[in-house]
């Protein structure tokens, strides 16, 4: 199966930072708006320039699901695994996908901290963020 590489839009810096264990997100140089997915042009102010800034991997669960069916491409995660959408207050609430590990206490609003991990999918190593609950 042919799999497209990387993400959607202008996100090369995101992947480079993730490879170094950091989270970096684009902030519009014109109107200072955090943007995700990473655009080439700010649709609010028309700027083509973005400041990529490191963002602390701290957020809260916005949505989640505990997956119990062995879908293709997710074999390396084992079952069950919890996929979550994490809102980042430090980036104006932008939401990123992540794995919630452990995911036993999954709930909307759960406070989490993240770190970069590698996942094996479709016979390739892929970077992802693993989020764990914080007290």
């Amino acid at each position: 199966m042919e799999i497209a590489l990387k993400g959607l839009g202008n996100d090369a810096n995101y992947w480079q930072a993730l490879g170094e264990g950091r989270l970096s997100l684009p902030k519009c140089a014109g109107c200072k708006r955090w943007c995700w997915p990473a655009p080439f042009r700010c649709s609010d102010c028309g700027s083509w320039d973005f400041d990529w800034q490191d963002v602390e991997m701290a957020g809260e669960v916005y949505a989640w699901t505990r997956v119990r069916h062995p879908f293709g491409g997710a074999e390396a995660l084992g079952l069950p695994y919890v996929v979550a959408s994490i809102a980042l207050p430090a980036a104006n609430g932008i939401r990123l996908f992540g794995l919630l590990e452990p995911g036993d206490d999954a709930a909307i609003g759960l406070k989490v901290a993240g770190k970069v991990r590698t996942n094996r999918a479709f016979e390739r190593d892929v970077l992802a963020i693993s989020w764990r609950p914080v007290a």
Binding site: L5, T65, H69
Partner: protein, 388 residues
């Protein structure tokens, strides 16, 4: 009104369906599609050679020009696919067909979708392949069920939609399917305990919350209202159709504003404006339910209910034809009628107004079709029994 009235001047005049168990089609996808197109032509009283336009959706692989040698097409005038890997293009395909006819670019257009697993693989994998990137596969978000489950979980947990509504949607689909001889679920009642105890796919979805996959092809032929009057069947008119996404919805890696919705906010608004109708005018609804919760979200988006009163409206008895006030998925829907990427919901929307549905809504005048809930671009259409 910011959206002009839609010209009610095209009609569905022919229907054709060939549906089989997944992996069990007796011929290739191309062959099944030709069968269904010829069926639809016979239904309409048309010569297959006179079909001069084709529209499909959902990354269908059957390029219309390749059908010409089977159909004897005299002249191919319109060959269009609606963008999007899911079922969001199903109603939009009728819009593209009508656009061709109204503007004089084609006279007789077949809207189709064909799916045979041996040729195109599993639909769920194909739909997801449309979206897969490292960002998505890295977290195991490799199936539509996972994506839709996340939105469904927020609909339940944050917006407070009762889980019972999901069960009632599923039961209504199976009730209709059990009474539809053309449905995969014909003659099979869904036991509530079987539903509740079925295995979990991705929380909150159990097995029966998820659509099936079938081999087959479905076809609806459109032509001008004027020409429709001379053909075999009672014409069913396209009253209005809208597709797309509003700002704040789309391919946003789940950064949608109305996250737990089905994405119809702008589409539904334009549909009501261009038809001059309101939800109260609709007699019967076919919602493409890839998953039960997305069917509910579609009803909310179109204004049939709200987060506050959803439990009163999305109630089993209320969803059943002919006694319920909001008969939904009267053919059995994607859950119980079958799933050739949703084309069966479009066929049923038309059959209701022809009066040929297995679960007829007596006197139905307006029938709504909503396609592809939760995907980046969605579409809806209203069909009517007259041009008024």
């Amino acid at each position: 009104m910011s959206t002009p009235r839609f010209p009610v001047s095209t009609a569905v005049v022919g229907l054709g369906v060939r549906q089989y168990k997944r992996g069990a089609a007796p011929m290739s996808e191309h062959g099944v599609l030709v069968r269904a197109i010829v069926d639809a032509c016979e239904d309409a009283g048309l010569d297959p050679a006179d079909i001069d336009g084709f529209v499909t959706y959902g990354d269908d692989k059957n390029e219309p020009v390749r059908l010409m040698t089977d159909l004897g097409t005299k002249e191919l005038c319109w060959s269009t696919q609606v963008f999007g890997g899911g079922g969001g293009g199903i109603a939009a395909a009728f819009g593209a067909a009508a656009a061709a006819i109204i503007s004089g670019q084609a006279k007789t257009v077949a809207v189709f979708r064909a799916l045979v697993q041996d040729n195109s693989g599993r639909l769920s994998a194909a739909v997801m392949a449309h979206h897969l990137t490292d960002y998505i596969v890295g977290v195991g978000l490799t199936a539509p069920a996972v994506e839709c489950a996340m939105r469904a979980q927020r609909m339940l947990e944050h917006h407070g939609v009762p889980r019972q509504c999901m069960e009632d949607m599923v039961r209504a689909s199976y009730y209709h399917g059990a009474r539809n001889p053309k449905a995969v679920g014909y003659g099979k009642e869904l036991d509530v305990e079987a539903y509740r105890s079925s295995r979990v796919i991705a929380e909150p979805f159990h097995l029966f919350d998820c659509s099936r996959e079938n081999d087959g092809a479905g076809v609806a032929i459109l032509t001008s209202a004027e020409r429709a009057r001379d053909l075999k069947q009672k014409p069913v008119y396209l009253k209005g159709v809208a597709q797309g996404a509003g700002k704040g919805w789309g391919d946003l890696l789940q950064n949608d504003e109305h996250y737990a919705s089905a994405g119809f906010a702008s589409v539904a608004r334009r549909l009501w404006e261009q038809t001059g109708l309101t939800p109260a005018d609709i007699d019967v609804v076919q919602v493409y339910e890839n998953f039960s919760a997305q069917g509910i979200a579609s009803l909310i988006d179109h204004g049939f209910c709200t987060y506050e009163n959803v439990a009163e409206v999305v109630r089993y008895e209320n969803l059943i034809a002919p006694t319920g006030k909001l008969p939904v998925n009267t053919g059995g829907g994607n859950l119980a009628q079958g799933f050739i990427h949703g084309i069966g919901t479009a066929i049923e929307a038309v059959e209701q107004l022809r009066g040929t549905s297995a679960n007829p809504v007596p006197g139905a005048r307006y029938s709504l079709l909503a396609g592809g809930p939760g995907v980046p671009t969605v579409s809806s259409a209203v069909f009517s029994v007259d041009t008024e």
